[in-house]
Symmetry: C2
Subunit: 191 residues, 2 copies
């Protein structure tokens, strides 16, 4: 069992789950090169991905043909297109590795079987989704509520590591900036 | 036990949960007048709300002093500020009734006790949050990806009932329009 996933389950379930060895078989370790795709538009999101090392992003291609990132996942985050995953229907999104990445893949049927055989993990996934839902509420507030400059400073304060690690053109796209505007802001704030 | 919540639990758990009478005590029915607040900025979001009839919205007041809606909840939807709820810390949001509304209130401690005594409901809340997470991913795509006119037509197609029921000035604010622009769009499309 991956020590990183084990630690995450123990943290969220406060050490009430101990059957880690028995669930190892449900997860498939995967290694991705930089820019390798896990999901492409029109395909079915077959699995839920847990990042062990590296970074994934989910994006779509907008009306102008430009890639628009909607979500990043660093270590300890789960990522999937949950509409496509839950209904096993075609996705509107891409999932791609931002840097060389190691992850665990939990297919839809493996997740169903895991939760049937180990229903204590429903609480783990409930908490994972509740946190992601909370983050999305906050994200929507930030998208609506801040000027572009305030949005950048907000991210630098709240996610300093994230801002350091993500390539600048992806950070710019995530925040809805041009790369030139981002570089101007960074120059201005001396970061 | 509310027939509406019972039906929702049965739908998501495929009739595997039958203990409806035993859980009734955890939920408190509430009745709200139009524009009555359930939560105000700076207060703690004490409960998770399930709409039986009517409509709730969650909003914040932006830098310009304008109310900006981030989420609506019609019948069968749960709504809370899940950051404030999970940590029982002050909220950045308001929750208000859009129209006269009946809801069930499940306080944080009642939810914890409910899930400890009836752990089968972890699956119910996992599915509720997974769906809300999926809806938020889609919402973020829509916010980034559509022109303002395409966004309006998208909502009319996908949520016709919603567009009919929500006051036009709130729909405009939700979509990031002025009420004048929305009325122009409606005139143009004959709806």
């Amino acid at each position: 069992m991956s020590a990183i996933l084990k630690a995450h389950i123990e943290k969220l379930l406060q050490h009430s789950f101990t059957d880690h060895e028995a669930i190892e078989q449900f997860f498939v370790p995967i290694t991705l090169a930089k820019k390798q795709n896990l999901l492409t538009e029109g395909a079915i999101c077959r699995a839920n991905y847990f990042v062990l090392q590296g970074c994934l992003r989910m994006f779509f291609i907008n009306e102008k043909g430009v890639e628009q990132t909607v979500q990043f996942a660093l270590e300890h985050w789960w990522l999937a297109d949950y509409t496509s995953f839950a209904t096993q229907s075609p996705s509107s999104f891409y999932i791609q590795a931002v840097e060389p990445t190691q992850a665990l893949s939990l297919t839809y049927s493996a997740q169903e079987e895991l939760l049937q055989t180990h229903p204590q993990l429903e609480r783990y996934f409930r908490l994972v989704h509740q946190r992601a839902h909370a983050a999305a509420q906050f994200r929507i507030m930030v998208l609506y509520g801040y000027s572009r400059e305030a949005l950048y400073h907000h991210f630098v304060r709240r996610y300093p590591e994230f801002v350091q690690r993500i390539p600048q053109y992806l950070l710019a796209s995530f925040l809805g900036f041009t790369p030139e505007y981002l570089s101007e802001l960074r120059g201005r704030s001396g970061s």
